[in-house]
């Protein structure tokens, strides 16, 4: 076991786990941050996505000891009780069906919009292509990303 310190959603946490433990299980089981979910454990589906230093990262294949920098989970993107514009857009467009994958959809979209506030349709399709939804809400996810991009732009104006 190793003592590992993580900075998550602005707070520091210390855990004592095997260094090879995937970050996903530390977040879910030790830190009680259950927004990221187990979908495949192989980095293929995206349900476990968190943002580390601005990059959408698959926490199921990221050893906890390899994390350098600040982690943001789904629970950490709303500020002062106010939903992030992406979350708001997700509600406006009524995106989720079962909702199990939506953590990955939202966090992948956030990392994309943070880097590229005006993605083209093709860029959205390409960036989101490895984030799977088994209820097939893609059509609404893409609409919500465009809505969020617009409202984030308006908020800056």
């Amino acid at each position: 076991m190793s003592k590992i310190t993580l900075k998550v959603n602005g707070a520091a946490h210390s855990v004592d786990v095997e260094a090879s433990t995937p970050l996903l299980y530390v977040l879910r089981n030790d830190l009680n941050l259950q927004g990221p979910r187990f979908g495949c454990g192989l980095g293929q589906c995206g349900a476990c996505t968190v943002i580390i230093n601005g990059t959408a990262t698959r926490s199921c294949v990221t050893p906890v000891s390899a994390v350098r920098g600040e982690i943001t989970t789904l629970e950490g993107i709303s500020k002062n009780g106010k939903l992030h514009p992406i979350q708001q857009a997700w509600i406006e467009e009524q995106v989720p069906q079962c909702g199990f994958c939506q953590n990955g959809q939202i966090m992948t979209a956030k990392a994309m919009l943070d880097h590229n506030p005006n993605p083209s349709d093709a860029q959205i399709r390409q960036t989101m292509a490895n984030t799977l939804c088994r209820c097939f809400t893609y059509y609404r996810v893409q609409a919500a990303i465009k809505r969020a991009a617009q409202s984030m732009k308006e908020a800056l104006a």
């Binding site: 995937p22 979910r37 909702g99 199990f100 399709r125 209820c135 893609y138 059509y139 893409q142």
Partner: protein, 789 residues
């Protein structure tokens, strides 16, 4: 009896605690946490009914369904589960309407076997069309009782009272008013209901005519969505209780393998190791922490013996196998007219064969459950869509009284029939009993993709006969399904744990094939359905179960592809050809399906902007070929027509379904926007089944084990435009008794055929084997001389 917790709400919580906080905690998420282990013990010690702490909820008591609180809010308790298609929101709309209650002052508790009446959970798209009627009737009955109480309170006859938004007032003097909460908040109705099943439950009151419904037909946003977006919803995967440990399964590496021995020493010294548990061919390892259990399951040495002969053909050999196999069942074909004579005198005969693979659910989250034993009870936290069936199944499997078992349904990954036969719940309960500790079971991705229940593979043979004038006079259609020993439900002798541990039904479940819908007025028909079995039908990853609209997409793919082939054979426009067949026979059924079918086909064509011409499109140039196809079907009383527009890449064979149009007539619509959402997702699910999905296997194991070996449709292939148009094709569209017909599955059904027909329209190439993967499409284009370099 009325559940203890509802009783407590009525007698204590309502006056001593914030009612708001009760409403919050009863809204499906927190109750399950506050009532884990500890509360179970409390309930047991206080209630102590004869056989256990969780007696069946008495559906003949109004109090089991509806609680009205002093602050004029209401909680509805219903025996269904919401798989993300907005049924919970629909229940609240329907019950609010009948009760005259403000929608936003209501909450809904679903699927907890200890708190809600047994309406079987979800399945068959019956939530609104079947179970919804009981909900409406009990809400109407509550309204009637409240009005009687109001009449007594104001000392006037009921007919001098009016009610709106849960406030009763005297018609002649609006200042005389009283809220439902003031009349009954914190008290029991003590009203008995009748009806021989939960779905037949009724009081004295009648439901309102459609014209008086206010919330039904509106589109309030789904209440489950905010918690799914901000991370606050607690899912079945999230449940933790003190002392909980983690289990992982070790599946047999070959179908039909026998366990020889287990070498515990391979994992005994791993940190956190607790125990290896095995029963027959079922093996699991239990550890303190989740990652420890995953590692132990990987390292545990288990010796298996292969079966003497291969359990199944390879996926490449499958269709030959199905065609040659002796049927395990072949009911007498459905025959109308004289098909033999019609074929004998036909001017033209068209023949085709179609093939459809095994397809999996491959839920985005693998199977999981947490079971908490002790204090003479077993609580299972599960996303089982049929939580009531699991309760009964687990009690029988573990041989403990039903009254000691409860299943707390919580949200989970898309189910579509997979959790009707919920393996993980049984495994968690079994392991929890073995260890005497709370155990969480989580399947890994390779287990779920390989070993979940499969929708059956099919072969189809179709023949059609035309007379000299080009009229379709006969059809002969045979559907053959590899579905022997189909498992549908949470049966204690057919879930995977039971099979692996040696429990068997006396007879395998016969399974079923399917028949195409017969609204088309074809005078002479022979429709045959046959079932075949694979060599190994127990302990196999190719076990069949219910997959969204069981058998519907398969048979409709073949039947509606064939109708398109027949249209092309006489150079008829595909829409015109269908409308002519639908109009040929004037007989109607009680749901006026023929009239509604014609309306749906016309509405789809109009919404799409259908250009009337025969398929295929004659001018096809350039790198991509485009085309459109239609397919129509019905499911129960629901009628649906789908049009797909495709682009086929001549270099790669890739098919992109650019646009979808769906015309949907499912009778009374409770929440139009939620219905459209459900139809969009259902159709896109079928696009994935049309273009990508196929369970692959060699002759000893399934080789589709993850998202690389079992690819599905991604964002890259999402349609650019989807239109869902809701149709009311009832000959009397304003009827006051318009019924809802069920909407969760029908849109899936015709979509695969619509895609096949669109590909044909674009290319002139007819694809008769699903899925239409790039390599298959390219090979077909090459064979037709249509590929581009």
């Amino acid at each position: 009896m009325i559940p203890k917790q509802i009783e407590e709400v009525l007698t204590h919580l309502d006056t001593s605690l914030s009612r708001r906080s009760f409403l919050k905690t009863s809204g499906m998420l927190a109750v399950s946490f506050t009532t884990a282990g500890a509360a179970a013990a409390t309930t047991a010690s206080i209630a102590a009914p004869a056989n256990g702490p969780y007696p069946d909820v008495d559906y003949h008591q109004l109090d089991s369904w509806i609680v009205i609180h002093q602050d004029n809010t209401a909680t509805f308790y219903v025996g269904k589960t919401d798989l993300g298609q907005g049924t919970g929101t629909a229940f609240r709309q329907m019950m609010s309407d009948e009760l005259d209650f403000p929608f936003d002052k209501t909450t809904c508790v679903m699927g907890r076997t200890d708190l809600t009446v047994d309406q079987r959970g979800s399945g068959g798209s019956d939530a609104v069309q079947t179970s919804g009627w009981a909900m409406r009737r009990v809400a109407a009955e509550a309204r009637r009782v409240l009005l009687e109480m109001g009449a007594k309170h104001f000392n006037v006859p009921v007919d001098q009272l009016a009610v709106s938004d849960a406030v009763i007032h005297v018609k002649s003097d609006a200042s005389k008013k009283i809220t439902y909460g003031e009349l009954i908040g914190g008290q029991r109705f003590n009203v008995s209901l009748t009806g021989n099943t939960t779905d037949n439950t009724t009081g004295v009151a009648k439901v309102k005519p459609v014209q008086q419904l206010k919330m039904v037909g509106q589109s309030p946003k789904r209440y489950d969505i905010p918690g799914k977006v901000d991370g606050s919803l607690k899912w079945a995967v999230d449940v933790k209780v003190p002392g909980m440990v983690h289990a992982r399964n070790i599946k047999p590496p070959f179908a039909g393998a026998k366990l020889v021995n287990i070498d515990d020493s391979s994992v005994r010294n791993l940190p956190g190791f607790i125990k290896v548990v095995s029963k027959g061919n079922y093996v699991a390892v239990v550890c303190e922490r989740e990652e420890q259990a995953i590692k132990a399951a990987t390292l545990l040495k288990v010796n298996w013996e292969k079966p003497a002969s291969p359990p199944f053909p390879t996926s490449e050999q499958l269709y030959d196998y199905i065609r040659k196999a002796a049927p395990t069942s072949s009911p007498k074909p459905n025959v109308a007219g004289n098909p033999d004579a019609a074929f004998a005198s036909a001017a033209k005969i068209v023949e085709a064969e179609y093939e459809f693979p095994f397809q999996g659910h491959t839920a985005i989250g693998p199977a999981h459950a947490m079971a908490d034993p002790g204090n003479g009870q077993m609580t299972i936290y599960s996303n089982d869509m049929k939580s009531y069936g699991m309760r009964t199944g687990v009690s029988e499997f573990l041989q403990i009284p039903r009254e000691q078992v409860r299943v707390i349904w919580m949200d989970g990954p898309q189910a579509f029939g997979r959790t009707a036969a919920d393996d993980a719940g049984f495994e968690a309960a079994f392991l929890a009993k073995e260890l005497g500790r709370p155990v969480r079971v989580q399947w890994m991705r390779h287990e779920e993709t390989a070993w979940d229940t499969k929708g059956p593979a099919f072969t189809f043979k179709a023949r059609g006969a035309f007379d000299a004038q080009g009229n379709l006079v006969a059809v002969d259609f045979t559907a053959r399904a590899a579905d022997h020993n189909h498992l549908g439900y949470n049966e204690p002798d057919s879930v995977l744990l039971a099979q692996l541990s040696g429990k068997r039904k006396n007879m395998p479940a016969p399974g079923s094939s399917a028949r195409p819908d017969d609204m088309y007025g074809i005078a002479n028909r022979r429709i045959a359905q046959e079932v075949v079995g694979l060599p190994v039908i127990w302990e196999t990853p190719l076990r069949t179960g219910n997959l969204r609209d069981p058998n519907g997409p398969q048979v409709t793919f073949a039947a509606e592809s064939f109708i398109d082939e027949l249209a092309a054979a006489v150079k008829a426009d595909p829409v015109d050809f269908r409308l002519k067949l639908l109009s040929a026979d004037k007989t109607e059924d009680s749901g006026f399906k023929r009239a509604r079918s014609i309306a749906a086909v016309k509405a789809a064509a109009e919404t799409y902007g259908w250009d009337r011409r025969p398929s295929p499109k004659s001018t096809s140039k350039g790198g991509t070929l485009s085309g459109r196809g239609i397919a129509y079907t019905f499911r129960g009383q629901t009628v649906v027509a789908v049009i797909a527009e495709v682009e086929v890449n001549r270099k790669t064979g890739h098919v992109w379904v650019k646009r979808l149009v769906c015309a949907y007539d499912c009778g009374l619509v409770v929440n139009p926007e939620a219905l459209k959402h459900s139809a969009e997702c259902g159709m896109t699910h079928s696009l994935s089944r049309a273009l990508y999905e196929e369970v692959r296997f060699d002759n000893e194991k399934v080789t589709s084990v993850d998202w690389k070996t079992h690819p599905i449709l991604t964002h890259a292939d999402a349609p650019e435009k989807i239109d869902v148009v809701l149709v009311n094709g009832d000959p009397n569209p304003n009827r006051s008794d318009l019924a809802p017909y069920g909407a969760g599955e029908a849109a899936c059904k015709p979509t695969i055929a619509a895609v096949a027909n669109a590909i044909y329209d674009a290319t002139g190439v007819r694809l008769r084997r699903v899925p239409f993967r790039d390599d298959r499409v390219l090979a077909a284009l090459r064979a037709a001389g249509l590929s581009a370099v």
